[in-house]
């Protein structure tokens, strides 16, 4: 409990660090909300017009004043108003988040359902041809850039079979589960492909390590069958690295998958941030990056808690 409190106490520190970095960085990028809105037409503005628009977008003060205002707003639970959406930043983020979360969960599910058995298979067939096949497949999976995979999937399905999940209007899970799943299954496969490959590799090597541990020998000496040894004794011990990897990947996925969202036209967090950067929607960039960082830290914390649940030897607070 105290450990949890102490971990949570670090959160604000890291978040302030993240916010300062993003605050300064986004303002160092040439161009601002005015050029984003007007493009080259911004050159037609008179100085007074420019000033008026600066006030409108809230970018008329030095950055530290802006930061101070923003931080004060944050303390009141207000992440500011997005200049492109004209809505509170938090509201926009929370609209997009369910999709990102669902996509991340779905990808992880695919990765674990495919990766763990494949890894176990590769470990138990280590010196056999079939095991090698799984390993090579995993490496190929890991080495395919996801945009190539996404484009290939879309092209093959649409040109070859004339089917494609509904693009454009995205249906949340609670409105139309079937349509929702249809829209997310391909992106999830795209993201889950490399993810599954990593899981396969890591579970294979973890299984190989664990299979040479003493307690596996003990289990065998008790007359536990090969299958029992693998699934009951070895696998639970091999899960720690799998959880670590899945946690990190999942944490990254919660930050949005920019390229995949772009290709499949999914309104997720990744595209939200990308568009916000391109449109110089400072409040939105800050809010979204902060939100993503927060999620990332929560996931890390959950991973640590998962360790404790998986392995009674691990105590919180010890590395």
């Amino acid at each position: 409990m105290t450990y949890l409190l102490r971990r949570l106490a670090v959160f604000p520190l890291v978040l302030i660090g993240v916010s300062i970095v993003v605050f300064v960085a986004i303002r160092m990028v040439p161009g601002d909300a005015i050029t984003a809105m007007l493009g080259t037409e911004a050159g037609l503005l008179t100085p007074a017009q420019r000033e008026a628009l600066s006030v409108y977008f809230g970018i008329d003060q030095p950055w530290f004043v802006q930061y101070g205002r923003w931080l004060a707003g944050l303390l009141h639970g207000n992440l500011g108003i997005s200049s492109t959406y004209g809505k509170p930043v938090l509201e926009i983020i929370l609209e997009r988040f369910p999709l990102t979360l669902e996509l991340a969960l779905l990808s992880m599910l695919i990765a674990l359902v495919v990766g763990v058995p494949a890894g176990v298979f590769a470990a138990t067939h280590n010196e056999k041809f079939s095991g090698l096949g799984v390993r090579v497949a995993a490496m190929i999976g890991q080495s395919t850039p996801n945009f190539v995979l996404a484009l290939l999937i879309i092209y093959t399905l649409s040109a070859g079979f004339g089917v494609l999940p509904a693009m454009g209007e995205f249906s949340p899970l609670w409105q139309d589960p079937l349509r929702n799943l249809g829209q997310l299954i391909l992106p999830a496969i795209t993201l889950g492909f490399a993810f599954a490959a990593s899981v396969t590799r890591i579970s294979r090597s973890a299984m190989l390590d664990v299979l040479s541990d003493d307690y596996v020998r003990t289990a065998r000496s008790k007359g536990v069958s090969a299958r029992g040894v693998i699934w009951r004794h070895a696998l639970p011990n091999a899960l720690i690295p799998v959880v670590t990897l899945s946690g990190i990947e999942f944490g990254y996925l919660l930050g949005g998958a920019v390229i995949v969202e772009q290709i499949y036209a999914l309104p997720g967090l990744g595209r939200l941030v990308l568009d916000a950067i391109l449109q110089r929607d400072y409040a939105l960039v800050q809010g979204a990056v902060l939100f993503i960082a927060f999620n990332f830290m929560i996931v890390n914390l959950l991973v640590d808690l998962a360790y404790v649940a998986l392995d009674p030897r691990i105590r919180l607070g010890e590395q």
Binding site: V18, V21, A25, V29, S143, P145, I277
Partner: protein, 279 residues
Amino acid sequence: MRMLRAIFAHPSGRIGGFIVGLYLLLAVLGLLGLTPHNPLMQYRVDRLHAPDGTYWMGTDLFGRDVASRLMMGIGQSFTVAFFSVAFAALAGTVLGLAAAWFGRRWDGIVMRVMDVLLAFPAILLALLIVAVAGPGTWTSIVAIAIVYTPIFTRVVRGPALSLKAREFVDAARTFGSSSSYILTRHLLLNLVAPLTVQITLALAWALLTEAGLSFLGLGTQPPAASLGLMLSDSRNLMETAPWLMIFPGLAIMISILGFNLLGDALRDIFDPRMRRAIA
């Protein structure tokens, strides 16, 4: 030398080593301009020419020879991957060692800063860096290096902490060895193994990240070629000229396969358990 022999004794090391070696050769040839055609030469009458005896992998939108550009692209991608991973490994090693060695407050500060970097979505971090500094080879290198630094810091810090508690470090303290001696001889030297493995894997990831950056138009600048840029340029020509996607795609997959195989082999070679089995 001993290392090379060990790699070639290992089955996946042999394949991985061969692939990486081949790519290095292609990269060097590409960088030196020793390609079948001039990779920048636009044979405009032969635009989007399918692969044949003259153009082994066809030509692109400009009538440039894809095979030659592939070699150039491998050179460029490898340059970015190598430099970025080298910087990340260097910075990560220094920071990780410092965190492990000085402990307590320093550890806290360094690791929190790394948390900040880690908590940042990687592609966005790269995007911001590129947007601030303007695109180009060196910006890509720095961006990827910054993204990977926290990972190397973690990779170094963990083993460094356990090495610090090893008996030979205790022994060194009993003779009063200086911190710098212990850091370099006892810690760093023993970190070579985990670092080497991590470096090969990071190289594979760096290649993919470079491709991702180029896909978003933030990486290598035309007319230079990189594997990622070639892939990204090919996307709207996928149907018209599939060879534009197939060859760079295969090239990137095989190179990553090579690095991964090599990394696996190195892991086995460095793993004391394996070594005991060999000895």
